[in-house]
Symmetry: C2
Subunit: 149 residues, 2 copies
């Protein structure tokens, strides 16, 4: 933990995004702990995942102490609930002084709140939307200009 060779990373939520990150970051050599309320969520972790699995509610302070959040270099909140992610991210930042905190946020309108707290956010909806839009613009351009025969 806090070594220069790897990061100590806590991932909250082991859904599709959480497990994707946990698998990748663990195989990159970082020390990963993933927390989820549901034990079955850990089934998404790959057989190569070498980090810890903690079945518990990250909204409980005891669970955050159990995973030694004060030692974390990075906390990533990826649960399905924007409010829970915001709460965990704020606790990580303000109570445990975690240097880097990231959160998935579904509602783009909430991104400003996170920025005010110096929490990095990624909104999949906006990203996916922009990718779709780019593709539509390209398609429309081709259609208007005519495709080469």
């Amino acid at each position: 933990m806090k070594s220069h060779d790897s990061l100590y990373i806590i991932i909250v939520g082991c859904g599709r995004l959480g497990s994707y990150l946990a698998n990748n970051l663990s195989s990159s050599g970082h020390s990963v702990v993933v927390i989820d309320k549901e034990e079955s969520a850990f089934d998404s972790l790959s057989s190569a995942y070498s980090g810890f699995r903690i079945a518990g509610d990250a909204a409980e302070f005891g669970v955050l102490k159990q995973v030694k959040m004060d030692k974390a270099d990075l906390v990533i909140a990826t649960t399905q609930e924007d409010n829970l992610n915001l709460m965990i991210a704020q606790i990580a930042k303000n109570l445990f002084d975690v240097p880097k905190v990231m959160a998935r946020v579904f509602d783009p309108k909430r991104e400003k709140i996170y920025r005010d707290f110096d929490i990095e956010t990624i909104c999949p909806t906006t990203f996916a939307g922009d990718l779709f839009l780019e593709s539509v613009i390209l398609y429309f351009k081709t259609k208007v200009e005519g495709s080469p025969s």
Copy 2:
């Protein structure tokens, strides 16, 4: 419809992604129809949205005929259910000969199935995951190399 000035676009699902696309594509001057089972979903559409709202089940063939899917230049399936999106996309492609069909897919493992049917997909999970990973890699690099004082 099928003019060169704009596209006739059918968006299935008016959640965060669907409404984001509907608002943007409508304000770009395209003819947009958005379908959702829940009338309340249309509350996410902006006041500037000038397209149609159809409250109905896109899994019903009658609804797809009602929105004149055979005239569509583009169909985008954005519901919360991967299976429903796949079904709608296949119907659009194979039964209504829609030239361009796109779908949001949550489960990255399903992307291949879509590609086999010539359906363009975007997986928000993978995109968000890769963006988080990029940021972590950059952070780790800065940490290892030391930040400039």
